[in-house]
């Protein structure tokens, strides 16, 4: 990797200050994407501001109908949390299926959504559940937050502090993993909350996570796999790579959505 200045942030405010002061700074949470990128010399930030010392960014709490997950909470902690398993079991299951054990014990929810990898799992969960992304300066809906491939609404010196999820009436996430990387080739999160039914797809879209309105409408009236049997997403805007053509991804979206609906019950 190229040389960079390393800073260990003491607090969220300190992190924001340091990142603002840096010429071309990067926040590092779990580093599961950033560190390999640096090692391959695909990025050369001037400064890294490490959030791992900011203790109050990690943790999970449930307050009535809301589950709040601190930005530095690892996937492993979410997967193992009795609170999450009880309130939104689909979210715990999603976290439990990210990467491998090593990744789950380093990677964080804040890092994952800030990166907005088009094949990451959390964006689908955030969109389908209607999560709120909390930063040091504001609160955004997940839909406003995820802008496009590797692109979010975050300002350069903005730090995610937590993600708030409403408890779902029912929800499930079905992931068809890329056989090599285990990222989502297609991942479909289906959820019914007070806000209605949502179907969010990750891994497949050229612009990252997206909703399937036609499926949401069909499921609103009839929450069964049969209701979306004939609904397919056009493959025009879907990814094609050596693991899956756009056509195959389109097919898998319907299959995974049906399975998610069946699993959500």
């Amino acid at each position: 990797m190229y040389d960079f200045n390393y800073h260990r942030a003491e607090s969220v405010a300190d992190a924001a200050e340091k990142i603002k002061a840096a010429e071309d700074g990067k926040l590092v949470a779990g580093g599961m994407t950033l560190i390999p990128t640096l090692k391959q010399r695909l990025a050369s930030p001037s400064d890294l501001v490490d959030l791992s010392g900011v203790g109050d960014l990690a943790g999970i709490s449930v307050d009535g109908n809301t589950v709040t997950i601190g930005a530095m909470t690892t996937h492993g902690a979410v997967a193992a949390s009795d609170d999450v398993k009880q309130a939104i079991p689909a979210l715990a299951a999603l976290a439990d299926n990210i990467g491998d054990a090593q990744v789950r014990h380093r990677g964080t929810i804040g890092g994952s959504i800030a990166n907005n990898d088009p094949a990451a799992d959390y964006p689908a969960g955030c969109i389908a559940l209607g999560a709120t992304i909390v930063t040091n300066t504001r609160e955004l809906s997940a839909e406003d937050f995820f802008v496009g491939m590797f692109e979010t609404a975050l300002e350069e010196d903005e730090v995610i502090t937590a993600v708030r999820f409403p408890v779902a009436k029912r929800a499930a996430y079905m992931k068809f993993p890329n056989p090599a990387s285990r990222y989502a080739l297609v991942g479909v999160f289906v959820a019914e909350t007070d806000g209605g039914v949502r179907v969010a797809v990750t891994g497949a879209g050229q612009d990252g996570v997206f909703r399937v309105a036609e499926m949401e409408t069909a499921l609103s009236g009839n929450f069964t796999a049969d209701a979306i049997e004939g609904i397919s997403v056009p493959d025009d805007d879907l990814n094609t790579d050596i693991h899956a053509s756009a056509e195959y991804r389109a097919h898998l979206i319907t299959v995974m959505a049906k399975r998610a609906v069946a699993a959500a019950g």
């Binding site: 056989p179 090599a180 990387s181 899956a244 195959y248 898998l252």
Partner: protein
């Protein structure tokens, strides 16, 4: 059988140091005043270098030296040599283009070596390499073998139509005549997918030059250090053996990819002499993908002629084999003498004809990879036999039993050069059928159907030739080396033993298996035995480890040296116990005199050998140290039956291996736990080839599967627990009766898996499936059939 003798499942003695991080790998070695090398590699598949400016790099911080191919050429550094010459049909030699360690003025694959930067630290070397300015004039690339031999762009100007050789074996006329009389002909098109080896330890090399003595030392991740010394010393750098030591310490996996003499070894050895400081190079994983030799990569058309009873009459095969951009050390023999000579398989097919065109393309060189030629042969044969059974209506078991070489027909001469010494294919198949509980298959299939899954079963009855190899035979086939092995057994004064073997362990467990041979033969505890390998400064000579040869050739050499120890010790015992030699018996570590109660322990004889106070020195020399070189009389021929069951999810195309049974005939088993482990590893790699792994280049010659983000290695979760068993017929020409077990898993399993996938989908109208059978490919095949 003793607790540590032949046949005992002794735990591997080397594992403690490996599992506790105490192994000593090449990258763990640091030499005083060491520098670091970074190799600048080509980003293009094919280009002419119009200018190469190293000025800025030379003056970058920490840089000691920068060298290019022209620097090496100017000093007379030679081309990386090829160790095997295959001749064309007309007996003319193959095309053998130059392979300079650093390119002179043209790059031929992504990853080709352009220049080396040597600096005080690895980061400084890498940083400086980015300052080298290379102007590339892009040339058209040739990736497809069929296009390559039909006027495609030239990889080498002096190799017309990119054809390395056009070779054949067998009687073409007799084969064609048999086809003319056939009642039925099955035919199949096969692509044997290109694989990237992925040893756990990336390659590394340290060049060290002793200015006081002029001695060169190369530490390297090699499966055969003596061969590297010979090839690099004699052909590339012109350093005589006595001034060149090659050390291959602990090596973390090879699978064939570490047999070859690589450019980096020559570069660091040569450059260390230039700068007079040690130089370490360690590959990053990305470099492994684009610079370790790849495996397989065949395109084949095959036809099988049968009579009305399903008896095989003749097999006709045409294969295109990818050599990559240059000839690697043993590349030419893989698709010829390790492939086409196996095409009789376990069957009595009287006529076999195979022609092979070896082709240059703008890809990483291709060479032997676990199984090397035999997986390609077994995949072809077992796929076409599977097809023949389906077309003739015979069961998979019946068509095989009808065509097996009978157990009483050995030695059996095939129509393609090899003579099998032993085997019992019918019984092996029967045992596998029992192990796999074939009787319950239909019920399992029906149960799977209720869950929406398509269950299929696939068979593979394979044979391979290993224990490589009789020097006279391979010499007549074009090998430029002998393939014997050496062993020295050194008994120390207090009776402990050091064995110096030319075999090389890079995961196989030689320190355990070879110690068991000594423990069994000399009757001493395993703890009293040390196995030394991997150092030309210590071991007399060695041809190394590949082709499942370590026990059948290296182990046999150890047995011969050990028997010489016993002979010598018997002479000493006879002298001390004052009895005729003929009356001395050796058993369980004790020398006794027949008919008396006189006895001496092995250790007492050892001590006497080094304290020869009253030896008659004219007839009895002091010391107890013997060397043997063993050259086998024939290859060994492991065979076996693998039966695989899969379930296909027709909605997604996902194939799950739900059961895998393997019954392998590897001859006598010295350590059943190690054999089982070798079979497990081989089967895992075979399932990987069948379902997951596939090297992909794009049309511009860029390596698309250049990391684990895109190249799919099998993981534990992709595999079921295997049912592994053995069914031994002993090798007829070595004293141990052993055949070899390192490659059988990778050779036998891929066709069993694909035959199972085809079986699951046959009723839907899917007739064929190529490797890897990825979910999309399977789903698409189902769509196309409907």
């Amino acid at each position: 059988m003793t607790a540590t003798g032949i046949g005992a499942a002794v735990k591997r003695v080397e594992d403690f140091r490996f599992l506790t991080g105490q192994g000593n790998y090449t990258d763990d070695i640091d030499r005083p005043n060491q520098t670091y090398a970074w190799i600048l590699r080509s980003p293009h598949a094919h280009a002419k270098i119009t200018s190469l400016d190293i000025g800025a790099a030379e003056s970058a911080p920490g840089v000691v030296a920068v060298f290019t191919g022209k620097d090496m050429e100017a000093e007379g550094v030679g081309s990386l040599p090829c160790g095997w010459q295959v001749n064309n049909k007309d007996d003319s030699p193959m095309a053998e283009p130059a392979h300079p360690p650093l390119v002179i003025d043209r790059v031929r694959h992504v990853g080709d070596q352009v220049a080396v930067v040597i600096a005080e630290t690895r980061d400084e070397a890498r940083q400086a390499a980015e300052m080298i300015v290379v102007d590339y004039e892009l040339l058209p690339v040739v990736m497809d073998m069929a296009a390559a031999i039909e006027g495609g762009p030239q990889v080498h100007d002096d190799v017309a139509n990119n054809l390395c050789y056009d070779w054949h074996i067998g009687d073409k006329d007799a084969t064609d005549a048999a086809f003319a009389d056939a009642a039925h002909v099955a035919s199949i098109d096969i692509v044997n997918n290109r694989l990237i080896p992925n040893a756990m330890e990336p390659r590394a090399a340290i060049g060290d030059y002793d200015t006081a003595t002029g001695d060169h030392t190369l530490y390297t991740t090699s499966q055969n250090p003596h061969v590297i010394r010979l090839l690099m010393g004699a052909f590339v750098l012109n350093i005589p053996e006595h001034k060149l030591r090659v050390v291959a310490p602990d090596v973390g996996g090879g699978f064939g990819s570490k047999i070859y003499h690589y450019a980096e070894e020559a570069i660091v050895t040569w450059a260390a002499g230039k700068i007079r400081r040690p130089i370490k190079w360690t590959a990053e994983r990305s470099e492994s993908f684009m610079s370790d030799c790849h495996g397989r990569d065949h395109v084949t058309k095959a036809e099988l002629a049968m009579d009305a009873d399903g008896k095989f009459l003749a097999l006709r095969v045409g294969t295109l084999a990818n050599m990559g951009a240059y000839l690697s050390t043993f590349a030419p023999c893989v698709p010829t003498y390790l492939y086409a000579t196996l095409l009789a398989g376990v069957y009595t097919t009287p006529q076999v004809y195979c022609e092979v065109k070896a082709v240059f393309t703008n890809t990483v060189p291709v060479d032997a990879y676990r199984g090397a030629g035999r997986p390609e042969a077994s995949f072809l044969l077992e796929r076409i036999v599977d097809r023949a059974a389906r077309e003739t209506g015979l069961s998979q078991v019946e068509i095989r039993q009808r065509n097996f070489i009978p157990a009483d027909a050995f030695p059996y001469q095939t129509p393609v050069a090899l003579q099998y010494d032993s085997g019992d294919y019918g019984s092996t198949l029967d045992q596998a059928v029992t192990t796999a509980e074939i009787d319950g298959f239909e019920a399992r299939k029906a149960e799977a159907a209720k869950r929406g899954k398509l269950r299929g079963i696939g068979y593979s009855t394979y044979i391979e030739a290993c224990g490589i190899a009789p020097s006279a035979v391979v010499g007549s086939l074009g090998a430029r080396a002998g393939l014997f092995e050496s062993a020295e057994v050194r008994v120390h004064p207090t009776g402990s033993v050091t064995v110096f073997t030319g075999s090389h362990s890079h995961g196989q467990g030689h320190e355990t298996t070879f110690s068991q041979l000594i423990s069994d033969t000399l009757g001493i505890p395993m703890e009293s035995v040390e196995i030394v390998h991997g150092d030309t400064g210590k071991v007399a000579f060695g041809m190394g480890t590949y082709g499942s040869r370590s026990l059948a050739v290296g182990g046999e050499a150890i047995m011969r040296a050990t028997n010489r120890i016993i002979d010598k010790a018997t002479k000493i015992a006879a002298h001390i116990m004052e009895a005729p030699e003929a009356d001395i018996e050796f058993k369980d570590g004790k020398f006794t005199v027949a008919g008396t109660d006189k006895e001496m322990a092995f250790g007492e004889i050892a001590l006497a050998a080094y304290v020869p106070h009253n030896f008659p020195h004219e007839t009895l020399e002091p010391g107890l140290d013997e060397t043997a070189f063993y050259d086998p009389a024939n290859f060994t021929y492991p065979g076996g039956c693998h039966i695989c069951e899969v379930e296909v999810d027709p909605e997604t195309g996902v194939v799950e291996v739900v059961s895998f049974s393997a019954v392998d005939d590897v001859g006598r088993v010295v350590n059943p736990m190690i054999v089982e482990g070798q079979v497990h590893g081989g089967v895992a790699q075979g399932i990987g080839q069948a379902l997951l792994e596939g090297c992909r280049y794009d049309e511009n010659g860029q390596l698309v599967t250049g990391s684990y983000m895109d190249y799919t290695l099998p993981r534990a979760g992709d595999l079921p627990s295997f049912n592994v068993g053995t069914h031994a017929t002993l090798c007829a020409h070595n004293s141990l009766g052993v055949k070899g077990c390192g490659e059988v898993g990778a050779i036998g399993s891929p066709p069993a898996v694909i035959n199972a996938v085809v079986d699951a989908l046959w009723d839907l109208g899917v007739k064929d499936m190529s490797m890897p059978a990825t979910p999309e490919k399977v789903w698409q095949a189902i769509q196309n059939a409907q």
